[in-house]
Symmetry: C5
Subunit: 99 residues, 5 copies
């Protein structure tokens, strides 16, 4: 899984029928300090996240292992909202503080 | 999924029989402003898109989760035509305006 | 899928029994003008291509969706021989002309 | 599989229900000397590892081939704790010595 | 598939039970002359190869399509030992000569 920040949303009305009702989020992978990197991906939201939140997303066939994305042409899914992470015993990101 | 622009088409008459009738599109991934990057991929069109349109494509086994591509040797599929996207509450791309 | 040129072949007599009889081709991905890039991959030939031909190959689990490669440890398959491609309405590669 | 060092953990209370109870570890891939590189990934722990340990992780659908991760939206799993590795007949990393 | 040279082995006694008895090999991808590049991967040996040999390995779910690796958390498998390869009609690597 990859740590990323939700930075926006994508709207697409014409699409594979099975994708109806899914929400497409724009995500930027972050470094260990929570700073956004240069690239971005589009992932389906399976946890009800919002812009600015730090999340984990899974890619590939694993992105279809949720009720929302099962058997759909979805290759990236947000499957967790991150509270915090620590490296070497020290908190490096904590929700509400580091945003 | 990845945001990309449809820039062309590929014709291949000799191919795996299961790929008969599918349309191969040339896609260039774009940045958050909708500007084309350097690379490109070939994806099967599952939504009836045209050149110049902004689309979302899915890769890997997820590219086979449409009626057109099911059980076929297809590793990239266009599964949505993009209307717009926004970052931080501001529209960064809108179909018809930003093209 | 990726556009690539067939540049050679690989011979391997000792291998997974299920790979017996398959032909391993050396492929170099090309740019939009058909010029070879720096990297290369080894793919199984499912369409009867020859050296110098421009092809499409599929990667990952999609590489197993042909009769030849089904249930085999094959992660790249040539599934089409390319006749031509066009970008912005102009032919950029045509078989026999651009080679 | 990839050689990596466990450098920390990620906490996420709001997540896909199927991910409940799984432990998310921060991993940094290492070079042949065991030195950490620049990137990092988040993987589920299937072997009971701890911070500072050298591990192997598997990605993609293979990350779901453990009892803990089966049918879950998990695309990276720690499936082994490394004792040592050798290159050209010489030990390059040994647990307890090279850490 | 990718051409690579076997450069070493990895020992891991604590691991997913299903990985018991499998041999982990250190592989370095090579260029068309057979020279080793900078990166490396760990793959399960399904063909009985030894250090110094040139091999082909498959990644992703295709790495589970051997008797040894079926349904195991293995994302890279050595499925062939290479005898030789040729580019443009000329042998570029031949076992025993180019090593």
């Amino acid at each position: 899984m990859v740590l990323a920040k939700v930075i926006g949303t994508v709207v697409a009305t014409r699409k594979e029928p099975s994708m109806e009702g899914l929400k497409f989020m724009l995500l930027r992978p972050v470094d260990l300090e929570g700073k956004e990197g240069g690239g971005f991906v589009v992932a389906v939201d399976a946890v009800g996240c919002g812009e600015g939140e730090m999340v984990l997303y899974a890619s590939g066939s694993s992105a279809r292992q949720t009720h929302l994305t099962d058997k759909r042409p979805c290759d990236a899914v947000i499957m967790a909202i991150v509270d915090n992470w620590e490296v070497g015993g020290k908190i490096r990101y904590k929700k509400g503080e580091s945003d």
